[in-house]
Symmetry: C2
Subunit: 107 residues, 2 copies
DNA sequence: TTGTTCTATATTTTATCACTAACTATTATA
DNA sequence: TATAATAGTTAGTGATAAAATATAGAACAA
């Protein structure tokens, strides 16, 4: 799996997951791992950044299956950020697609 | 413009441009700059990597408007690499799109 | 009961690598 | 001489990878 492609896009994936419901770190890693390859510690760094920037808030919930789970909850600021990132991503993807298409179809 | 999104995708854009026709560095920078924001030196680094990996070959052509232009030509290896990268990119983009869609539509 | 091991979970540290910013250098032309 | 067209380099930044460490609970053996 191409490492570089994930730069920035992983953040959008995390934000999008949290848009739907609060999740804890391990749960997010697990869920995203089913769709793409990600290293174990990666999401924690992303989540830390998101929290430092007040895009998410956290709370602990005791678990019967291991250490307490740290849940991440999207703030209003985080929700807006997700929308902005999503738009930027989709714009960018479209631009790249156009460049790809031009080089093949029109030849 | 989100810097991170470009990681890896710029390479695909350059390869795609070269798929259509040989280009010189300044020309590529100029063309891509009309669609997205890129720093002046960026493409030269990408082109150097591509050449080091034998994805492109170069030749000089004298110009009446400045210093000689260094043209980049995609090799067979480069053409295959473009196809592979393109597929990886499109797969990845689709995965991200699914994750985004799930969090919004199904809520 | 005690100790061991496994799983779930969180966190940290070091390294890598692509892009940015900001340069230098060269040729032709006005 | 200044400007535009062109090539190239260097230091820095920031996101992800890889590989640890840490802890709580469950299962199991001695």
């Amino acid at each position: 799996m191409n490492v570089q492609f994930k730069k920035g896009a992983l953040e959008l994936c995390v934000l999008s997951k949290l848009l739907r419901k609060d999740c804890y770190g391990y749960e997010l890693t697990d869920a995203l791992s089913q769709r793409m390859v990600i290293a174990t510690g990666t999401l924690y760094l992303i989540l830390k950044r998101l929290r430092d920037d007040a895009y998410v808030e956290t709370y602990l919930v005791e678990s019967a299956e291991g250490p307490a789970r740290k849940y991440y909850h999207l703030t209003e600021k985080g929700r807006k950020y997700q929308m902005k990132l999503k738009e930027e991503w989709m714009d960018f993807v479209q631009t790249v697609q156009e460049i790809i298409d031009e080089s093949t179809s029109t030849r």
